[in-house]
């Protein structure tokens, strides 16, 4: 290593700093207001995103506790710890929590923090919408858990198949809470997708053309477009369900001309892409981590992007493989088998490229990389069992058995949770300014990895031995007891490992090693700013000349001149080439998104009980939304002044 080479001198290679006075002004401009008011009015993407991540992690812990309860009940045959009524609520809440309140939201929450830093922007596009999306997500989640704790937790499964979830077979308000919460939190997901897409396409730093955008940003762009097409399907489905239940429509009632299968088609048209919504962002995490720890760019950049886009398209073409047992025409099934098999190709291409990157790099071996290597092991296994499930004939044996439980946890935990933990270890220094402990990190990893396999591998066997899913008990003579006990012991190991992670976070927040801007020697833009980043992200907006700006020589110009420090101003660039286009004033902190979210929540909760709530509660929503968008005279005056300034 040659220190004299400016490319590799960590102090010199950072983007230029602003004058101290300018930096102070910038910090004052972009910070959230102080005090309790400020807490609710905050719109800085980092503030909102950290809250979002913490909230989703709390839901992850809640869902994990439910999983441990499930494993406790199933650890031995004929167990009487949890009766069928509570068990059905628990497994429904576990699935709903992990899918709707953890997996997709946390990917969006992390992106909302990282994307502006990665593309060289001072904020997310639509910062107030971002805050609103966070608040309705949180309130929707709290609403569902509040229902659960007053014994109104949904009990028809996270997939809520009709007619079981319909008015006749699920009387009471349990399923109504579920259906409204789904619509509600997915609304938040849609908004986050819009915010992320706009940020990526319009707020990139000058020079960051599409083919210089890093793979994580590509992954989030692809994911967000998928969200736009997938989530409306389930929102429609759950809205039709609630009208069936509330105002006696008959969308799903076969006796009155409705169709029970309509639900499954709508649900899985969302539900299968959902898996990729959860899985594609981690592909971006992995590319970032692999590049930083192999100390070289990821092999096959264009192929990786093609693979991401192909995966996104194919993800919409294979929902029927969840429905092979429903007696659909055979020819159609073969098409969906082929589609389900072929989606393995883009994933394989990515894995080959990462292996090639690692093999041709020089490896810096730290905890994040361990989680990535675990991803290879677990995801490949989950992918291969997915190929088995894609086959119609095999699926008729394996479907709705514990084999599927094993498969989906291998795919979702291997494909999302392991990379997510890797990402936490990787970006925690950026979020907090401190490193997570490496020693605890390794304990965390090994307990998680071994515990995971001990928990879920036996489930493959249980499925082949005929154990169906969603059963609260089983007779001893079935012979499933031993394997279930093993799985439950593994689950305890996973629980312990997550506890270790929390200990690690708590210790590091207090007394972790100070990270500095770029502790891993990584090459991308977010590592050029202080850790944690200043409120305005970049003291000066950088100009980008390559895919790894910190690894490549700085060319002129290095940054954008003339952006306002006293006003929330961003530079809007063109979609393809990121040529500077115009300057745009961004909204200031406001309490109205929060109040608007509150009004929306009242509408949704009210509509569980009476359709009239939609009418009456629309008024406060309209009022708060109007005030949200009301231009303030001082702001207009300021804007005019800033525009005429020389």
């Amino acid at each position: 290593m040659t220190v004299s080479d400016p490319r590799h001198d960590t102090t010199e290679r950072l983007t230029p700093r602003a004058e101290p006075a300018a930096a102070t002004a910038l910090e004052r401009t972009w910070r959230d207001p102080p005090g309790v008011y400020g807490w609710f009015a905050a719109i800085n993407h980092k503030t909102i995103s950290i809250r979002f991540i913490v909230t989703t992690m709390l839901f992850f812990l809640a869902g994990g506790v439910l999983a441990l309860l499930i494993r406790l009940q199933l650890a031995q045959p004929n167990a009487g710890i949890i009766g069928p009524d509570m068990y059905n609520q628990i497994f429904t809440m576990h699935g709903s929590t992990m899918m709707f309140l953890f997996a997709v939201p946390i990917m969006q929450a992390v992106a909302a923090y990282l994307i502006p830093l990665m593309v060289g922007a001072r904020t997310l596009a639509f910062p107030r919408l971002n805050a609103y999306a966070y608040w309705i997500f949180t309130m929707g989640g709290i609403m569902l858990y509040a229902a659960f704790f007053v014994n109104a937790g949904p009990d028809a499964g996270w997939f809520a198949y009709v007619p079981l979830s319909g008015p006749q077979y699920s009387p009471g308000k349990r399923v109504d809470f579920w259906a409204q919460m789904i619509t509600f939190t997915e609304l938040s997901g849609l908004m986050e997708a819009i915010v992320i897409i706009t940020t990526i396409l319009k707020l990139r730093a000058p020079g960051m053309s599409l083919n210089r955008m890093r793979l994580y940003v590509w992954a989030m762009l692809v994911t967000s477009f998928m969200v736009l097409f997938a989530l409306p399907a389930v929102m429609l489905a759950s809205t039709a369900l609630i009208t069936d239940r509330l105002v006696d429509t008959q969308f799903y009632n076969p006796d009155k001309g409705g169709d029970a299968l309509l639900w499954q088609h709508l649900f899985w048209f969302f539900g299968h892409p959902e898996v990729y919504l959860i899985f594609i962002p981690p592909l971006g995490f992995i590319s970032s981590i692999v590049a930083a720890f192999a100390r070289r760019p990821v092999v096959g950049y264009p192929a990786m992007i093609l693979a991401l886009v192909t995966t996104a398209f194919l993800a919409f073409g294979l929902w029927v493989h969840h429905m092979f047992a429903t007696n659909l025409p055979d020819l159609g099934k073969t098409f969906f088998t082929a589609a389900s098999l072929i989606i393995a190709v883009p994933t394989a291409v990515q894995i080959f490229c990462w292996i090639a990157t690692l093999g041709s790099g020089r490896i810096h071996f730290k905890t994040p990389l361990l989680f990535v290597l675990a991803f290879f092991f677990i995801l490949v296994m989950g992918g291969l069992t997915g190929l088995m499930l894609a086959s119609v004939s095999l699926d008729t044996q394996l479907h709705d058995s514990f084999f599927v439980v094993a498969h989906l946890h291998y795919v979702l935990m291997g494909g999302a949770v392991f990379p997510l933990f890797g990402a936490f270890y990787f970006w925690f220094p950026k979020f907090t300014g401190r490193m997570l402990g490496e020693r605890l990190g390794r304990w965390n990893f090994w307990l998680f990895f071994i515990g995971f396999n001990v928990t879920f591998f036996p489930m493959h066997l249980l499925g082949l031995w005929g154990m169906p899913r969603r059963v609260y008990t089983y007779p001893a003579e079935m012979g499933w007891g031993d394997m279930n006990l093993v799985a439950s012991i593994g689950a305890a190991m996973i629980g312990l490992s997550v506890l270790l992670f929390l200990v690690n976070v708590a210790r590091s927040l207090r007394a972790g090693r100070v990270a500095g801007p770029d502790p891993w020697g990584a090459g991308t833009l977010e590592w050029s700013v202080a850790s944690p980043p200043p409120m305005g992200n970049f003291e000066v907006i950088p100009v980008v000349h390559g895919r790894y700006p910190l690894w490549q020589p700085q060319l002129e110009p290095t940054h954008v001149e003339g952006m306002s420090n006293d006003w929330r101003e961003v530079l809007v660039t063109t979609v393809a080439d990121a040529e500077p286009d115009h300057r745009l004033s961004m909204p200031s902190p406001s309490i109205w998104p929060f109040l608007s979210a509150l009004a929306t929540t009242v509408l949704f909760i009210g509509s569980i009980f009476t359709p009239w709530a939609v009418v009456w509660a629309a008024a406060p929503v309209a009022v708060t939304a109007t005030l949200w968008f009301w231009p303030r005279r001082a702001i207009v005056r300021e804007r005019v002044r800033s525009e005429v300034r020389p």
Binding site: M1, P84, D400, W551
Partner: protein
């Protein structure tokens, strides 16, 4: 509640121990798929280990190798083409296997088939043995008896919510969907009793919705079917007669049918030949006097959520009723 062992079950739901043609075809496909997938898995894991093992070690200060950014990567499309081609070839093998297996499954010879209509209820199975001659049809519940070596066409319907029929030793599962009809074809090639279970979540007692399939030689099957076609015999002794009166007088007859008596309820299982069944409560408890007594007195204690109400009968009436039920062979 401890589930007592149901005697005489040959196999408890094992998809890997095929006892019939359909499960056999799927088992063959499973073996082939497992071999191919294991090979791929080992190959990728070994490649990863070699890549990580052989690459030199570095730290955060190591100068990054950015040479690949200077120009197009060496033969990258060629290499990715190879990777894609190999993957597609492997997947085509799987697809071919699937198509051939599906064809084999669809081409089960159906001459001389037994036709059964199976209706899923929360949480039990109603089986109607169909016949061209309607007077030869009969209804039973929770247990199927089928002849070995003869194909069986099971027509699937659901009465309330979606259920799924799965007898792993005989073949794959198929859903019973309200408003739709599906068929499942089976053939048992080995005599024995195979357990099956509802596989689609169907509510509170989804876990305890089992079903036994007895595969018996054709002659035994014919004898069994002939017996099932008959009405319930009139009870011979006084105790059983009293039990019949209890049955008809209490609420039992509102939900249950016994052919040859005024009891024609359709809400619960047909009890005409109850005593010939091995289990009660949808394959969960052995059919004996003790379990029957407990079931009648407090079904919720045995199977929480079940739709049968508790019946508080005077002890004498209960004993008489049990005696009557035991005559329903």
């Amino acid at each position: 509640m401890e589930h007592a062992r149901v005697p005489g079950v040959t196999s408890m739901q094992d998809a890997l121990r095929a006892a019939g043609a359909q499960a056999g075809h799927i088992g063959d496909l499973w073996n082939g798929t497992l071999a191919l997938c294991t090979f791929v898995f080992v190959a990728i894991v070994v490649a990863t280990i070699i890549a990580v093992w052989c690459a030199p070690r570095a730290d955060a200060a190591t100068r990054p190798d950015t040479s690949s950014l200077d120009g197009p990567e060496h033969r990258i499309w060629c290499r990715i083409g190879w990777a894609t081609g190999t993957s597609v070839a492997g997947l085509l093998v799987l697809l071919a296997g699937d198509v051939f297996t599906s064809r084999a499954l669809a081409r089960l010879p159906l001459r001389d088939a037994v036709n059964i209509e199976l209706v899923g209820h929360q949480w039990w199975w109603e089986a109607r043995y169909l016949d061209a001659d309607a007077s030869r049809e009969f209804t039973t519940a929770n247990e199927l008896t089928i002849p070995v070596g003869r194909p069986v066409i099971v027509t699937l319907r659901a009465d309330d919510v979606i259920h799924s029929l799965w007898v792993p030793n005989l073949g794959g599962k198929k859903d019973l969907i309200p408003g739709r009809t599906a068929t499942l074809q089976l053939r048992a090639d080995r005599a024995g009793t195979y357990r099956g279970q509802c596989a689609e979540f169907c509510g509170l007692e989804h876990a305890l919705m089992a079903l036994l399939v007895h595969a018996v030689p054709t002659s035994d099957y014919e004898a069994w079917a002939a017996n099932q076609r008959g009405n319930a015999r009139d009870p011979a002794d006084a105790a059983a007669r009293r039990g019949r009166d209890v049955f008809l007088g209490a609420s039992c007859a509102k939900c249950h049918a016994v052919a040859g008596t005024p009891a024609q309820g359709r809400m619960g299982p047909d009890l005409t030949h109850l005593a010939s069944r091995r289990t009660i409560a949808a394959g969960i408890f052995p059919n004996n006097r003790g379990h029957l007594a407990g079931w009648i007195a407090d079904p919720q204690a045995l199977k929480p959520g079940v739709n049968m109400p508790a019946n508080t009968l005077p002890p004498d009436d209960l004993q008489a009723l049990l005696t009557y039920l035991e005559t329903l062979r």
